[in-house]
Subunit: 336 residues, 2 copies
């Protein structure tokens, strides 16, 4: 059984050290803004996934070394995955108008719009600086280049997914549109830590299976996230934030396909309101409609189905099966 | 004598082809937004500088090949320099609240804030995709890696300079603060096309001299730009835009050091107004103060002095002397 909390404690400082080293400058409203954001916590899930995948693909001999030693080659890439994730969050919060991140003011609220856009750009460059640093730990040029290529393609697909997501707010998407968007926005960058680990372990032949796993678990994660927004609130200071932002979540799409014309109009009026004009009562009305038409159940089942699909793929990679099963479960059944 | 207009026509389509290939997708409000911005023109100055530097460093034999053939290895990097420049412009326009770019609505005005941040991020990734593409033209891993390293460091320094620039709006900077900011924000990314060319031509020993040239011509360019804002308007739809944005230009810094306490207060009130609240008369008052205290002349002389310094450095690189002299002159004496 994988003890993720213990592993996070054990490996966390290695990742943090790697990150701190590249953000050690002192330009006001840049380095402090980045540190402010990175210190708001986050689960360091992606770097941990990179490290655990890498270790699982190692030879037994290599695995017996000390943690710092055996993980050295993957550390810069693992840290890059964490910085990538946080760069997206900094810019996403602006794009979505989210004022709260991990129960604290979002970077753009604290440092202003201009600094937050610029600091996000700075973080994006650090992703590549970190990967180029891999060479210092003895990673060869060929593998470094493969890591860079994987990261560039991941970022591009994620930005495409984000554009689709923004477009969907003012459209009536189908479930297929939703799935395309979510695969773009979520699947690639949940998968890239494992892809990087496979590259570094000299096991590129595993990549297609890892991508297949990601294409199922990414949407499962996002759908679980859609449900979570209505039940636990995702650390963004409130429940139903997605409704306020007018997001076309899987719940909304399902509900719009089932409810009456009157209810449809009612739901769309609520979603089209500006976030600050959407009342708590509006959120309750939407939530009630989701329950009336079984949309929340539908979403839960859809997430479980995708998770099952991911578990099935995981079986075909025996060395990673335990890790992938744990990860799938963790992502879909998490509480915040 | 270098005929920049003719060269731009001759090489422009090679650069554009390289850029169009990587932006050929069709996600609405992403690919069209990027094309909208890239098509608003721009002088393709940076890619041209990369190509011309590369050709000047070539052996005579290599130079006699056709344009497409002899330039092949530098093209992706040259295109990357152009995309880098445009990504900065897309995000800068948001950060500065600039609504007009090259006499057309800025991307964020036409496509909205969310899409413009995301499209800028997308362009930033394309910079690296382009450089990784160099390998298709036979550039080896070592040189590709050096190009990536140069580009990452350039982007990082530029973002640091941009943070200093944003900070300066609410502070009383010295001329040294101004120079630090401007070297960060301008010098590195004017220099990187030449640095890339030196890497690809196998002439890395020239890089320190190229950087020295850039550290003088970058500020000279920015100071000329500060003056231009008051005389020609830089294609941003109006004259005195920098005053409206409250930019601490070299003119402002010089003037604040010379004028009376009353005039100082008057100038700061104007600079601290929101752009939309600054009147044409305010701009004239500021302009009058700059003239009264010789700030415009001071700036012109400062730019000329830095240009002279750059020319001096250029002499020590005989193969590039003609090109660097032309470029220095073009940047500092341009009219828009």
């Amino acid at each position: 059984m994988i003890d993720i909390e213990r592993l996070a404690r054990e490996k966390g400082h290695l990742i943090d050290k790697e990150i701190e080293e590249v953000f050690s400058g002192d330009v006001p409203n840049l380095h402090d803004a980045v540190r402010y954001h990175m210190d708001t916590g986050g689960k360091r899930l992606r770097p941990l996934l990179a490290i655990l995948t890498y270790e699982a693909l190692m030879s037994k001999d290599a695995r017996s070394a000390s943690s710092a030693e055996k993980d050295a080659k993957i550390l810069p890439f693992a840290a890059a995955c964490e910085v990538l994730h946080n760069w997206f969050l900094v810019h996403d919060d602006i794009e979505d108008g989210d004022k709260v991140r991990r129960d604290k003011p979002a970077m753009w609220v604290k440092y202003g719009l201009a600094h937050a856009i610029n600091a996000g750009d700075y973080m994006a460059q650090k992703v590549y600086e970190l990967i180029l640093n891999s060479r210092k730990y003895g990673v060869d040029n060929e593998k470094t280049m493969d890591l860079l290529e994987a990261m560039v393609q991941t970022s591009l697909r994620t930005a495409e997914g984000q554009a689709m997501d923004i477009n969907m707010r003012s459209a009536s998407p189908s479930e297929k549109d939703y799935m395309d968007m979510v695969i773009g926005k979520t699947a690639h960058y949940l998968t890239v830590p494992m892809v990087g680990a496979a590259i570094l372990a000299g096991r590129k032949e595993l990549i297609p299976k890892l991508v297949e796993f990601g294409m199922a678990i990414g949407p499962a994660f996002q759908i679980a996230d859609d449900v979570l927004d209505l039940t636990e609130g995702k650390g963004r200071g409130e429940i139903g934030r997605d409704i306020k932002e007018g997001k076309k979540s899987i719940l909304v799409i399902h509900c719009l396909g089932k409810c009456s014309e009157t209810e449809k109009r009612e739901l769309l009026v609520i979603l089209n309101k500006k976030p600050e004009e959407t009342s708590g009562e509006d959120v309750l009305v939407a939530k009630h409609l989701f329950e009336k038409y079984g949309s929340t159940d539908y979403a839960r089942k859809k997430a479980d189905g995708l998770k099952g699909q991911a578990m099935e793929t995981a079986k075909s990679v025996p060395e990673l099966n335990e890790l992938l099963v744990f990860f799938a479960d963790y992502l879909v059944n998490r509480k915040k």
